[in-house]
Symmetry: D2
């Protein structure tokens, strides 16, 4: 039952997506994203971002998207600034380094990085007499929401935007779980804000109701020259591009994307209440779909020593921190079942 | 209508695949290919290849698979031998070079390469006094069927296998369209033959009835160490791995994969007969799902100069060679419609 | 004795260079090319090129220089156009591919490429409906003189320059043996012409009288941002930068560089006359320091099957083409000794 | 005068090296290290290491050597463990990442890393349930002496060797300043010890009396297949290989290399005594040729704000830590001049 909240990519896709794939299945369309569904989906995303000139491209997964965007944006000898807890810093098997670039680490605060730290990093870098022997900061990477479920406010993102402008480097936002930020009652950063404050970002599909797929948005379409070919070179171009186009078209029809986020958040709220009622201590309690609680190891680990949860870290000798993630697919039954177990 | 035969990836997936995805949609499973469907699909593929010890991994697309496998197999300073017409030599936007390796060209015969040419290439290479300043041949790449729709016989593949063994380099077979070789009446090279003669190969899903997906088979599971992590680093690992697992499980149940190939081939036969009846000249007439015919430019190009066909090359001043591809999804109606047009 | 003409890098350095290294040996100077000798050498090179604003950087060797410049100039998915006989295409062990880029081949005429072929290559490329799936031509590479000892006239270089401008890609000239072009009576392409017609080029030291070292000249100093750091990253930055600075300062004092070229050319002339007098047939007879003659295999190969010459290619069953290279260090005695042998 | 101790690569080469280069200058020898001087130098190094089967190769500089060795040793998805203060982690402009690999950081103790920390790093890594999504530790890098001038004892190196063996990964030792470890009275780790305990290491020439050059020693000659070609591909192969061969032959004749180290160490001793006599506080006082002292900023920085010293870090509001390096070329006069200044 713990398994219910292991992650937010345990099911297939929102049923409407499967329905749309089935309805269009035997139509013949051109490949590589030039089909009408992909074009329409891109248009819907531009509308949602209030950014009519934006270039939108569909890729398949998050690590792939990060590797493709970052290696295309950086010049040789440049690195990408990231939280030490950033996905690219730890959990992408060195995909950024394989592209030839170093991940430059700044401290994190529940997963977030600060404009002040970025500013200091860059200022100190150029104050070092040997800076021309070192990897230059060439862009900033952050996630909304972060690995820890925290979110940047509009003001915080604007500050980071300003620091990036000041130092003439682009800001890239990884929105693998963007729906769960957009659906949070505490969120004040809308897609149009993102399109205004980030130089490039992606809207995550895989974790937010799609089978797979991520939509990269470049408000300035000239930012990465020949981006289509870059995507192809990275093996990130789907031959049957419409399969991801149809998914995003569905997600951006009738605001389904944000509605899925809101559902996950209301489920997180219900789960939180149930945990509080049972006096389960929280490690932290972020405003999105991920909760971090402290549980006794006897509950966390099975007799085989395997964690039945998404193990986060040891808390003390007999307790561990585990992550619980709700999703677009979570049901009240999942929650009740789980709470009954505790 | 020409559009009917533009390529073999114009539709979605075989309806059984969509049905299976829908049936399993809300089940919760672990990610990254550790779900029961993926494990079962791998087992079915091992059975079809009569190779119980083989390592099977699922990736998303063909360029990605080639880039991942080739860069993992080659050591620094090694290159991959390929036909000058090979997909990796032309149409992968430099994905192999991005991985740090040169494509070493040998001549082609209707898309195929010969054991004798490979042998000469390697022998001549090491006879050159300066070979240690040059890119060493480190593996052989070929496609079954080839870009030109031709297929290797079992004897030809065995000869190439022997040359590779003689020179201690692995043989890699790109099976993006493998179903259309397996479905050909002229084919005598079975999956178990492939598993015996190739060091590594992939069974193509994208062009053969799946939404997307390619299954890499390594008869010797130690060939690429940590292949799972290599796949992750290349951004080729699907979070919801079961999406591709379920597709291959369906394709390898009741021999659907070969049956789809046979269907495409019978459609190709019907199309061929219709073209012959209309005295349309053939450029070449391979034994799989691709036909190459010579058509007047007035038919090939629209008033806007855009080709309504898959243009192959100019034939003379007023004619062009075009490729026609049937697929698992082609219907007799598609063919009749098209023949009526000519 | 054949060994006398094996190559143009068989001796140390011009004695003046060793003398200057000895004279300055115990001075203390700052590292990495910021010493007064390096600065002065750069200034002399700017003067010789009549290009006061040029950025000049010193690297160690030719393959390294090509790899560094080309990977810094190209964007992802771009390749470099080169003669099929170009040094980067064959004899750099895949250094360009290791940098992530494909070498795009055009035909050669005694080692040279033509403006017309480059123009066709690029025009045909963009006429291909699938060009966005292919490696884009991003720059042109050529050598002056070429691998075959031929040289580009000022008019030919201007034509290639114009084609590059037309297609908005830079022209890079590998001058590993530049002294031997400059010293040729047939040459009409001066360093200032090069600085006007090429976007970037290097003046070779290793083969032209230095112990080692190549001087890259960028007439537009903004062409490669942070070029110093790029050089460092490629391991091409000498800690004791003055060692190469002093060498180039010596070579560019009193026009020593061109005088060394002229000496090699007069020795080539003397050798040519001697060979003609002995009726040795020429394979080709380029206007620089390399000669290609046809010799009986009995002379070319020792009893151990090893070539005592720089073997070029088989001519017929009993003869081979060999390359003879004179250099700044060749003496009349070397020539007489060699001719006596024939 | 502070300039006297800025670094250990401020002069040319030991005069005997220049003399040997001059004596052999006009001899004709084959290129790329196949000349008799290079062969002899390699033999001397094998003797000094008591390792007759070792493969020895000469490269040009330190960053280049590190980048070449590390990228050749690591498989895809592997990283190199290093001190956070390691040269490869900071001052090589991302050369390791350009080769596709991450630098994995462990803590340092005055520049050194510990066997226990390496062991924990690797053990913890494989205990992480997600390790297959992360960069695997594939080798260990350390410097002897370190960036901080500290040295590993034979016992410490043996412990690190044992941990590497336990985890089946190679140990690579960067000996850029090896002479200054060998010359230290506190050193008990001889070249034969190194050849026994490290899988690969280099003997630094650039900072230890040569114009430039580093000698890589592989006790197991099969460790990096085709290492010659790998070196060529990295642009690290000198055409006139004898230039570096002659230098190492000179350094390894009559034990010159260690004698130069001893000289630098005796100069460091004299400098230390002078500084103590003047009550200059030490930040740390390592047993090799580098000293770290605390000086008032008024002395460290010129009126232009530029440091006249090798600035290490700020100590407090009005003091800085500076590094003083003696070398093979330091004279008592240099020291007296400098002490007079304080």
């Amino acid at each position: 039952m713990a398994f219910n909240f292991q992650s937010d990519y345990m099911e297939g896709a929102h049923p409407l997506i499967l329905q749309r794939l089935a309805e269009t299945n035997l139509e013949k369309t051109a490949g590589y994203g030039s089909d009408p569904y992909s074009l329409q989906a891109k248009e819907r995303i531009r509308e949602a971002c209030e950014c009519p000139q934006a270039e939108v491209q569909f890729l398949v997964g998050g690590t792939q998207t990060n590797a493709t965007v970052i290696s295309a944006l950086l010049r040789p000898c440049q690195g990408v600034i990231s939280a030490e807890t950033g996905h690219i810093a730890i959990h992408e098997a060195g995909a950024i380094e394989r592209g030839g670039h170093k991940v430059l680490i700044v401290p994190h605060y529940e997963g977030k990085i600060s404009a002040a730290d970025i500013d200091s990093y860059i200022t100190d870098f150029y104050a070092d007499a040997n800076y021309s022997h070192m990897v230059m900061p060439g862009m900033v990477y952050l996630s909304q929401p972060t690995e820890y479920g925290s979110i940047y406010s509009k003001a915080e993102m604007a500050d980071i935007h300003d620091v990036c402008r000041k130092h003439h480097i682009p800001l890239y936002v990884d929105g693998a779980r963007l729906a769960y930020a957009l659906g949070s009652p505490q969120n004040d950063l809308s897609p149009p804000d993102l399109a205004r404050l980030a130089d490039i970002f992606y809207i995550g599909g895989t974790k937010c109701g799609a089978l797979f797929g991520e939509a990269v948005v470049m408000p300035d379409p000239g930012l990465i020259p020949n981006f289509f070919t870059v995507i192809k070179q990275h093996g990130a171009l789907l031959a049957k591009g419409r399969i991801v186009g149809i998914q995003f078209l569905t997600l951006f029809t009738d605001d389904l994307y944000t509605r899925l986020g809101r559902h996950a958040l209301s489920m997180a709220e219900m789960l939180k209440e149930g945990l509080h009622a049972k006096n389960i201590p929280f490690f932290f309690e972020p405003p999105t779909n991920q909760l971090f609680v402290i549980l006794p190891d006897s509950l966390v680990f099975g007799p085989d020593g395997q964690a039945g949860f998404c193990f986060w870290e040891k808390y003390d000798d007999s307790h561990s921190v585990v992550r619980l993630a709700t999703s677009w697919a979570t049901t009240p039954a999942d929650i009740n079942q789980f709470l009954a177990l505790l």
